[in-house]
């Protein structure tokens, strides 16, 4: 059994990250879970949250994703995420401003469709803000 986990983070645009890690923690749809080398094969949906990579070398160790999918198999972990931003690159003040904007959008929403969109955006931004803290 390998003592490292081959971790890949893929977005539709490109392969964002490909490192050997000791452990990776992910926000699963049905609860957070961690993956160590030798984990049983799993395919899981992920919700918005932070992926934490331990012992990942030069790569960022905390990455925010806006949801996605994880596939664990044979000491390999592949995460498909549509939006992925390293937490270190996020700016708190900017996020707070955006949360504020999103709240205003929600108040200004005129129909259910707009309200639903605004709520989704606000929830996502609040998750991001929580990640920075």
């Amino acid at each position: 059994m390998a003592d490292k986990l081959a971790f890949e983070l893929v977005s539709p645009d490109r392969l964002l990250l490909s490192v050997e890690a000791d452990a990776v923690a992910m926000p699963g749809m049905e609860g957070d879970f961690g993956v160590l080398p030798g984990h049983a094969p799993v395919i899981s949906a992920l919700r918005a949250g932070v992926i934490e990579v331990e012992g990942g070398g030069d790569g960022p160790d905390r990455v925010f994703i806006a949801g996605g999918f994880a596939e664990v198999a044979a000491d390999r972990l592949t995460v498909l995420a549509e939006d992925a931003i390293p937490v270190a690159d996020m700016d708190r003040a900017d996020l707070e401003q955006r949360v504020q904007d999103a709240r205003e959008d929600l108040e200004d929403a005129e129909d259910d469709e707009q309200r639903r969109l605004a709520e989704g955006k606000l929830a996502l931004l609040q998750e991001m803000l929580a990640a920075v803290r």
């Binding site: 893929v10 977005s11 539709p12 645009d13 490109r14 392969l15 699963g28 749809m29 049905e30 049983a40 094969p41 799993v42 395919i43 899981s44 949906a45 999918f69 596939e71 198999a73 044979a74 390999r76 592949t78 498909l80 549509e82």
Partner: protein, 298 residues
Amino acid sequence: MPSLKDLRTRIASVTSTQKITKAMQMVAAAKLRRAQEAAEQSRPYAQRMERMIVSVAGNLPSLDAAPPLVVGSGKDDVHLLVVVTAERGLCGAFNTNILRAVRAKIGELRDAGKEVKLYCVGRKGYDSLRRDMESLIVEYVTLREVRNITFAEARPIAEKISAMFEAGEFDVCTMYYNAFKSVISQVVTEQQLVPVKLPDDGEEADETAPDLGGAIYEYEPEEEELLGVLVPRNLSVQAYRALLESAAAEQAARMTSMDNATRNAGEMIDKLTLNYNRTRQAMITTELIEIVSGAEAL
């Protein structure tokens, strides 16, 4: 015979046309490289996504429980055709090929008594289809202002398709786009999006598939639910891939056709120059004869 001045003007105008086509060819070549790169970088995601879907769908106890996007609505009365074309012309038969395929399909579907709806992506296709099939067009997106295609452009297209399907506006959705095969060849591709066509087992083994050593995946949440999240996501990925392929193919087609245009212009300049010189020499000869015969007459 055209006068010398006429010939000179024509040579000048062909030369400036050649300059333009030459420049367009070089611009297309530069853009092609970028578009090709983008298309290649999007591949890992699409590959892995497909692998997951196949794995999850293969483990479903029965297809009855699968979301409708996978199994379809059980009918095939209304067809939605997504037509991906370029925003600009001057790229050879790029748009014509797509439109010809789409028109043939529309004819076929109508003969079979089906209803057809069109979703145009790209101005060229819209402009052309609008002329004779305006009533069929339900949606039109232009990507004119978009310089680099990102996932954000593909998502709304996919969301719109899912929304229309959920509202029962169509039963089968097929996408038409030019796939980038090589710089000199673009292939009109017909891809069924809804219901999802699952690749058959045994079809070209995916070399990235991990060896599980006999273990089976656990799914979280349950298969049906997971598939319900995966499939709409896959729709955006497919749309994204089509946009990228089409963009790369468009630049390739433009590059080739502009190369041809430049060569044609070159040939034309040569011909005109020859003609010009002949005319000029003929004039000189005539003048000489006039002088000589004038001198002899004295």
